[in-house]
């Protein structure tokens, strides 16, 4: 039995169905990310787990204790679930030290020492403890919010887009620091975000949510390379989706013959490749030469942006076109290292690495 079990959770606001039956299991000590576009119901789900709202139906069980099931409902303050909100939600009328110590007992013996220790753990300077929340930067506020939540030794930590208010640079370093911190403390964590890169890099388990339901739940690699459908594929990153004819573990498509990850016998299907699987090689000689199954393309557009460049290529030949009409018109858009930026009009050889994924 897992640590947290959500079973068939639903919640509606008037005619709006925010959650349409959510099932999720979370292992103790793991990190789960729930990712989806805004308005998909992920914040509602978090509020149900935290206990700010009751589900219309369904069950929430944490470590064997039923938190919500029909009429039975444990309110937020008896759940022992920590929360770090989007903007930290620090109490503006209290000092940083009092914010961190808010959930501790007033007469706890080593209160000051514990506050100092928590501040140290989240990487805050001791001098900051006497200040007020509005004197702190966004990143510091988030660290305080985290320390405050950890002071209550929560069984489960909920992070509600805690990094979205931070600058890009600070964001990834904070994410890494928080992940390590919670890992060391052994606290099971759920992160809610609309940023797919954040979800993939933070979590052991990612759940893609859309319109109140999970589209797919799995490990980051699973979801990225083997998405269930086109929506999940495109939500988690750029994707090249091509029609293909599949036989004997290979797909025949406009990019030639590519190994696929599914042994299922399907005649025609759509396959997905991540753009980084498509390789461009400079050709030494002008024009196309070599074996007939070699694939060539012309660079039609190139946008240089420093470390990376965005290249648009149009295929020039096709060994076995299943749907020739669709190919000539739509170029492939690829991101390549800026140092290898080709010139517009250059002809390049196209190759594919790894396997293509067959979409359901």
């Amino acid at each position: 039995m897992s640590f947290l079990d959500l079973t068939a959770l639903t919640r509606s606001y008037g005619p709006v169905r925010a959650l349409a039956g959510i099932d999720l299991s979370i292992e103790p000590g793991s990190r789960t990310a729930i990712v989806g576009p805004s308005g998909c119901g992920k914040t509602t789900l978090l509020r149900l787990i935290a206990g700010f709202e009751a589900p219309d139906s369904g069950r929430i069980v944490l470590a064997g204790e039923t938190l919500a099931d029909g009429a039975a409902f444990v309110p937020a303050h008896r759940r022992g679930i920590g929360l770090v909100a989007q903007d930290g939600a620090l109490f503006p009328h209290l000092s940083i030290a009092d914010n961190i110590g808010f959930g501790m007992a007033r007469r706890e013996v080593h209160r000051d020492a514990r506050i100092a220790e928590l501040a140290y753990i989240v990487g805050l300077d001791k001098t900051i403890l006497k200040r007020r929340p509005h004197e702190l930067s966004g990143g510091q506020q988030q660290r305080v919010a985290l320390a405050r939540a950890m002071a209550c030794k929560p069984r489960l930590m909920l992070l509600d887009e805690p990094f979205s208010a931070l600058d890009t640079g600070l964001r990834s370093s904070m994410r890494k620091a928080v992940a390590e911190l919670l890992e060391n403390a052994g606290i099971t964590t759920i992160l809610v975000t609309h940023d797919q890169a954040e979800a993939l890099s933070f979590a052991d388990q990612v759940a893609v949510m859309r319109e109140g339901a999970f589209s797919q739940v799995g490990t980051p690699q699973d979801l990225y390379f083997r998405p269930k459908n086109r929506m999940v594929a495109e939500f988690l990153g750029d994707a090249i989706v091509l029609p293909a004819r599949i036989a004997g573990g290979f797909a025949q498509c406009s990019l030639g013959r590519i190994a696929v990850d599914s042994a299922d016998l399907q005649d025609t299907a759509r396959i997905m490749l991540r753009p980084e699987q498509v390789l461009l090689k400079r050709t030494s000689s002008e024009g196309m030469s070599g074996t007939p199954d070699m694939l060539f393309a012309e660079v039609t557009d190139m946008e240089f942006a420093g470390a990376v460049c965005t290249v648009a290529v149009r295929l020039l030949n096709n060994p076995d076109p299943p749907d020739a009409a669709a190919i000539g018109s739509s170029p492939l858009i690829l991101k390549k290292p800026g140092i290898e930026a080709p010139a517009i009009g250059e002809v390049v050889r196209v190759g594919v690495t790894g396997k293509a994924h067959v979409l359901a």
């Binding site: 206990g51 700010f52 709202e53 503006p92 808010f102 939540a149 909920l158």
Partner: protein, 523 residues
Amino acid sequence: MTAAADKAAPVTFNAARSHRPMPWMAAAALLVSALALVPLAFIFWIAARTGWAESYRLIVRPRVGELLVNTALLALLTVPICAVLSIALAWLTERTDLPGARLWSLLAVAPLAIPAFVHSYAWVTMLPGFHGLPAGVLISVIAYFPFLYLPVAASLRRLDPALEDAAASLGLGPSRVFLRVVLPQLRLAICGGSLLVGLHLLAEYGLFVFVRFDTFTTAIVDQFQSTFNGPAATMLAGVLVACCLALLAFEMLVRGEERYARVGSGAARLRPPSRLGRMTLPALALPVLVAILSLGVPLVVISRWLIAGGTAVWKLDEIGLALGQTLFLALAGGLLATVAGIPIAWLSIRAPGKLQRVLEGLNYTVGALPGVVVALALVTITVTVMLPLYQTLATILIAYALMFLPRAIISLRASIAQAPIELERAASGLGRPPIRALWATTIRLSAPGAAAGMALAALGITNELTATQMLAPNGVRTLALAFWNFSGEIDYAAAAPYAAIMVLLSLPLTFLLYTQSKRMAGR
């Protein structure tokens, strides 16, 4: 790089200096502030003229002690009751699913439309034996609690629910969340509202005369009526001023330097109202009871007297004259207060600095002085120095302007802040001289706010009694004065039409206050 920055700095500094506020604006602001200081200076002048020993004898005597005890008891009982009542009502109307919350919220502001002495008149004519401290406290609470309800309800609406969620997730139950998170954030609103109630308690005259409860203000007016402008009245006024200043200082101390705004960015989510459930009916009892006491009693009593008086009390010529004079005084006084407020308000937005902060603090402090002090000062000064001005229109209008200047400044400031300086600069850039640029942009744009401020001052003047009866020119009989004279003669029926008209005149402005407070909270 650094050298270039250093070189550039003086240039920007000069540029900023060259855009100095118009010197005549600063001069006008100084002049208005100097006028506002007259009542304070007057007390010292009289004290000096009377001799310090004699002044000391007049201040340190048993009568002053009695009045101090009365005032302290009144404030210490009324303000906390008002605060608790307002917080409870605000919570019920803003945070719960109380049936008809909107209506109860409106009804909690409505008592402001009834002048305090009309509240008192209603209670005394209904329960003739009801007097002294208990009557003073009860009537003060129902007449003044909206001053606390308005800011508390507005703050409660603005609070970020995420803070309460955070507190709950840290293991605090609902009542402890209220005590440790919600209440501390209401502190500014509670302090400000309590100060307003306290200042009204110190300044009110009619209310306490009806219930035969002596305060400094009633004692000063008594003294003034018996000895005209004797130093005894002035020294009492001096103690009253000291009480006001102490109250202001105390409020500043309690308020502290805390910041209670939301720290984060983005919009706060709306909080679903708390369910009252089985507590709905008991909870309804509070707003119902408050509405009965604060609105039902005065309205029923006024109606009863109107019915008892029949058509005989509606002497239309007298009433019409009083109404006309009241409206004229209210509009002229309101206009004067607004015009006098423009320089200070303009400076505080366009050229904030040390001078402006001093002037503004000074004006708020002086504006907190009771009308009786302002009136006493103007009477004494006109009688001793400028006799031709005694009991003239000019003097009473100046008194009104001084008393209601802060109301005008608050509205003006808010509206000038909404007219961007860039427009004024653009108008200057298009060739308008400064005064015409100001007229074409800022004054045009801030006109609605100025009108609101003028209306607020006019409402105050309409219901003003203390200063009016001391300063009114011969033959002037405002609604408040006529009401006061009739009820002084125990002709309660004849007083009723005047009470009814004052309430009717105040209704639109009270509604304006209500909608303004809703808008301030962003809803």
